[in-house]
């Protein structure tokens, strides 16, 4: 990947709403070139989506999130791919990672309440044939996610005018 694309990604990762013209100015590149690079990265699925990071604990309609360690038996020829797919296709599942170490898949699940998450684990996840065991850990508070700190910091502490 070329330097321009990497720089564009660095900026968009921080603020997905930056206009191509602004990005072009900031990077000292031509706007057409920046737009073309973005289009190309969208097409190549390098840029997958422009989403919003939400602090759900601030929303009345609270959600429960759990991380689940899943041990499973890989399938001949396909490894963990099809099991992962069977899991990630559920809308309740927010993320799925294949892990090294004591277990195989790390699954993040979101539900309206404890009961809903528990029921998903016992009815959907544990019952998949190749799943051997699950361990559920509920998330109590999110401090930082994807490089973004959730805590609100005080305003700019600088003096308004300084030499």
């Amino acid at each position: 990947m070329n330097q321009l694309k990497l720089s564009i990604l660095d900026l968009l990762k921080e603020d997905a709403r930056l206009a191509p013209s602004t990005i072009a100015t900031m990077l000292g590149a031509a706007e057409a070139e920046v737009s073309a690079a973005i289009t190309e990265m969208e097409k190549d699925h390098v840029i997958v989506k422009y989403a919003t990071v939400i602090n759900w604990s601030k929303v009345d309609d609270e959600k429960v999130t759990a991380l689940i360690e899943v041990e499973c038996t890989p399938e001949r020829g396909r490894g963990f791919e099809s099991i992962a797919e069977r899991i990630y296709l559920y809308p309740e599942v927010k993320s799925v990672f294949l892990m090294s170490g004591a277990y195989d898949l790390c699954v993040e699940i979101e539900g309206k309440n404890l009961k809903e998450v528990a029921s998903f684990v016992s009815n959907k996840l544990s019952t998949i044939e190749s799943v051997i065991s699950t361990k559920t850990f509920f998330i109590l508070k999110k401090y930082k996610q994807d490089g973004i700190i959730f805590e609100e910091f005080e305003d700019d502490g600088r003096l308004l005018i300084s030499p």
Binding site: D15, L18, T22, T25, M26, L27, L160, I161, S162, P163
Partner: protein, 408 residues
Amino acid sequence: MIKDKEVAPRVEQPSQAEGMSRYLNARTRDIPPSGIRRFFDLVSSSKDKEIISLGVGEPDFVTPWRVRDAAVYSLEKGKTQYTPNAGTPELREAIGQYLHDQFSVDYDPDKEIVVTVGGSEGIDLALRALIEPGDEILVPEPTYLPYAPISTLAGGVAVGIETFAKDQFKLTAESLRAAITPRSKVLIFCYPSNPTGAIMTYEEMLPIAKLVEEHDLIVISDEIYAELTYGSRHVSFASLPGMRDRTILVSGFSKAFAMTGWRMGYVCAHPDLIAAMLKIHQYTIMCAPIMAQVAALESLSPTGLEEKDRMIESYNQRRRLVVHGFREIGMPCHEPQGAFYAFPSIQQTGLSSEEFAQRLVLEAKVAAVPGYVFGKGGEGFLRCCYATSVVQLQEALERIGQFLHRIK
């Protein structure tokens, strides 16, 4: 005292000392109040949360966590003692290595480097060590405010040398030559420049160095913004042929390492000069705070340097944005190639920089520093610091654009 009265038209006449002021020495009492201070009071008194400030002189980043953490850890370990007067050997060693790697200048950590309380202390030490009463200190302007008052306190006379937008606010040999008198002793050379963002290249500095040699001057080179150059690498005055012994290099961690509040600076020079400055430092300051020295050392670690580079890249992006923005809204702006200031012209409005800046705060809620406070050549310009978030910069440009439209 500033020699040329035109430089500071707002100098208030020394009043008949009243009350306890009559005990003050005239030198201190008669230093004029700084224009920036007046403007600060105006802006601060408004208490308006909506004001976007481009008036700061410091990074918007807080010190990287690894640096803060190193200081916290040192406190937990009970590192609360004095250090050697010149600073910890480890920090001086690291500064020496860093200056060698970044700017190809070599200083002996044992005899040629003193860690100071901010770069400001370095300027003060240098001037106090060098100046005899009445010696003249040449200062290219517009410039950082404290040089003239510090010169006065040291018993000298600051002589402003005007620089111009047409020269991108670089110091030219002609104007330097014109300002030199038999009393000239020191040239304060501050590039990259606060407030103009101007830099000086190797070729542009050579004729300056020649004059310095011819007239037997000492150069106090304030290189606090050395890391913040965009497009070309900073050239240290000390690296010019024959200039090492004539240069007192002053720098610090405030700007590039986002460490303003730590007050961490250093001064490097010939051992004879350093020995004299160290005397003043040891009797007045003793040593820079140990926890700040620990933090500064961490900022020079390989990962600390990476964090610094990341911040510099971010300033560069915002520099392009803001310069482009000013030109779009019809404010001529020379290309600032260093520091984190843009210095657009407001001459076309017909307002004085003070009037413009005041109305901009009150009517458009954007604070920036009027150019006149920076001395000769500053009138007609506005110092805008772009170390502020992209969203804020865009909003500020929008507001300034609307304001310009209204006052047309």
